[in-house]
């Protein structure tokens, strides 16, 4: 572990049991996250992409200890979060916050903006009285909401403004690390651009570290320093943002990138496209060997038998594929 790492994830495994029958006997496991390791440096933004059901949200939740992980370690500035419980874990939570996907479902409709934003301060016993209100107004200004809106209820805000409330709530306790779970996916493009610009500005001003989870590769590219690509609970490729987009190595990354349409008819219609066949297989019973082989256009015999390890391919570029 190096000193400049804020988050270190080692061999993280998260299985959810599938039960059946009256006695809820365990019959199988959903292998949501299956032995992944990575780190996030201080002040860095790591993008995490993949199709739905690949385990990217679960990974975020595991880092924040919202699930009891099956095995593995999650270090936050050298402290293993998996080992600590109760009060000391609650104290650590102050430093790590989460921004949710759906700004319509994630805010309590019966609380005012001020109550929503200030709640973490009360939970963490941070600011009280006059200081409480000052801090709420301060973070509201940071996310470009006016303090006079503090008395309003969520339904009085637009989608973009609600997402700003969600960001303000995360910022209220002055965290060092924020997991943005599909934070802009539910928004219109023009609003999406506003929120991304805001997140980038806050990162500079407050020296934040982000784990930016999204399925939209073009959004991730813009904000991330490094990007990890997940498929069925495993990281298949992780590298700097520039390298991933200019020189993707894993066949899954390549096809994922080629599926994203570019908003320019001249460029897009001349681009080579790889259309993946089929859907993502079930994580209860993933394919043998490389999980991607049934959909892979480069699969050979070894791919069916052996699980490829994440290998270093020079610099910060790692990929898990037999063919590269």
């Amino acid at each position: 572990m190096q000193n400049n790492h804020l988050i270190d994830v080692e061999k993280l495994v998260m299985y959810f049991p599938v039960t059946a029958g009256v006695f809820r006997k365990k019959v199988a496991d959903v292998k949501a996250v299956d032995d992944i390791s990575f780190h996030i440096k201080k002040g860095e933004t790591l993008g995490l992409v993949g199709e739905s059901g690949c385990g990217k949200t679960t990974t975020g939740h595991c880092i924040l200890q919202l699930h009891e992980v099956t095995s593995g370690k999650v270090f936050f500035e050298g402290t293993d979060l998996v080992q600590i419980k109760g009060k000391s874990l609650r104290k650590m939570r102050r430093h790590m916050q989460l921004i949710f996907q759906d700004p319509f479902a994630s805010l309590d409709p019966r609380m005012t903006a001020e109550d929503i934003i200030g709640e973490p301060l009360l939970v963490q016993h941070l600011d009280k009285g006059k200081k409480y209100r000052e801090q709420v107004y301060e973070v509201m200004r940071m996310v470009e909401l006016e303090p006079y809106m503090a008395e309003r209820y969520p339904h009085e805000f637009s989608g973009g403004q609600r997402q700003r409330i969600g960001i303000a709530r995360a910022l209220a306790v002055r965290p060092a690390f924020i997991v943005c779970d599909e934070a802009v996916s539910a928004l219109d493009v023009s609003i999406q651009a506003q929120i991304i610009t805001l997140l980038m500005k806050l990162r500079e001003e407050l020296h934040l570290t982000y784990l930016f989870i999204a399925h939209d590769l073009s959004v991730v590219r813009n904000i991330s320093d490094r990007v990890a690509v997940m498929y069925l609970g495993k990281i298949v490729e992780i590298t700097t943002s520039d390298a991933l987009y200019s020189n993707p190595l894993h066949p899954y990354t390549i096809s994922l990138l080629s599926a994203v349409p570019i908003p320019d008819p001249v460029v897009d219609r001349t681009r080579k496209r790889i259309i993946l066949v089929g859907d993502v297989p079930s994580p209860i019973n993933p394919p043998s060997g490389c999980h991607f082989h049934p959909r892979c256009y480069q699969a050979i015999d070894i791919c069916k038998e052996q699980i490829p390890e994440l290998r270093n391919l020079g610099g910060e570029h790692w990929a898990a594929c037999h063919r590269v």
């Binding site: 739905s52 609003i191 008819p265």
Partner: protein, 332 residues
């Protein structure tokens, strides 16, 4: 002139669909005109609540009343004004000659019927097939949209399919009667990019094979660039710009279109270039500004923009825009 007119599958003229709510009259669609030629793919683009879905629902007369009313205009489909015909006639057209793929497959499919039943329903109704031939036709359709093992899957219920599979079933249903016009309302919005690519490829192939005209309603400008021949950009219930896809992307002449294009992060643009942002929010449709609806958010707004509403005017070959600002001075 007549020959050009005959090519048109659909012509929407001055369509006005209003909703009467407690807050006031919401002019969801206000004087919208556009047309779709045979075999053409037209994109309706805009932010949420700009009236793009309402305009499509109006074409099929599926606006819930109350509160919605189609106040005026014409919707000419193959020479017939759909706003004038009887409800029986409309039922013959709906799902048969004009088909629609809805945004959310999960809520659009009937959860208590097997997918086979749902597809064969329209085959029996519109094409007069008996049960047996409708069944075999349904299997063929499921195969066409790429559902593996259709003989077995036809007996399954919607919840046994993934989101992408459900949307394929919606497309199979829409295609069952070989429609002349297919309206796809945000067909891939809730789906992963890989599945999105699969589905749009299916629609594109069918269009090439059968010559079906397609209207794609979307907010994704990438999808538009890839599949659409003509782009109609909507803002607050009306068109602000329309033209061939290449022209709109290369030399748009409306500040809103330019703003939309600039706010999309692109895979091929230099990184660290933050997307340019359109300030502010879309207007409250119950209280639209008097002048140009986009003027409160527009960088170029002039005093006259606040007073008078611009109308579509020709700015190039088949290219129209509604804006007062001098086109040559717009920054790209």
């Amino acid at each position: 002139m007549l020959t050009i007119k005959e090519e048109r599958v659909l012509e929407v003229k001055e369509l006005r669909t209003y909703y009467y709510t407690d807050e006031g009259v919401v002019k969801a669609v206000d004087g919208l005109s556009y047309h779709v030629k045979k075999g053409e793919c037209v994109g309706l683009v805009g932010e949420s609540a700009c009236g793009k879905s309402v305009s499509a629902m109006s074409v099929l007369r599926l606006i819930p009343y109350p509160p919605g009313v189609i106040e005026g205009g014409e919707i000419v489909f193959k020479g017939e004004d759909l706003l004038q015909v009887s409800e029986e006639r409309m039922r013959e057209i709906r799902g048969n000659r004009i088909a629609m793929v809805f945004q959310e497959p999960t809520t659009s499919l009937n959860p208590v019927l097997t997918v086979g039943r749902q597809i064969s329903e329209s085959l029996e109704l519109h094409r007069g097939m008996d049960k047996e031939s409708a069944r075999s036709e349904s299997i063929k359709l499921l195969q066409l949209v790429g559902i593996p093992d259709p003989e077995r899957r036809i007996k399954d219920h919607p919840h046994q399919f993934s989101g992408g599979m459900q949307q394929r079933i919606m497309i199979a249903m829409a295609l069952s009667c070989d429609p002349e016009l297919l309206i796809a309302d945000e067909p891939t919005t809730s789906l992963d990019v890989t599945v999105q690519a699969q589905l749009l490829e299916i629609i594109a192939n069918l269009r090439a094979e059968r010559g079906t005209a397609v209207i794609i309603i979307t907010h994704n400008l990438g999808v538009v660039a890839r599949y659409v021949d003509r782009v109609n950009v909507m803002y607050a219930g009306n068109l602000v710009e329309t033209g061939p896809t290449e022209i709109i992307y290369a030399e748009s002449k409306h500040p809103y279109t330019l703003g939309l294009l600039a706010s999309v992060p692109r895979l091929d643009s230099p990184r660290k270039v933050a997307p340019r942002v359109i300030q502010g929010l879309p207007p409250n449709m119950a209280h639209l500004p008097t002048g140009c609806c986009f003027s409160p958010r527009c960088d170029y707004a002039m005093p006259e923009c606040k007073e008078e509403r611009p109308v579509l005017e020709k700015v190039g070959q088949d290219h129209y825009r509604a804006c007062f600002y001098e086109a040559g001075k717009l920054r790209r």
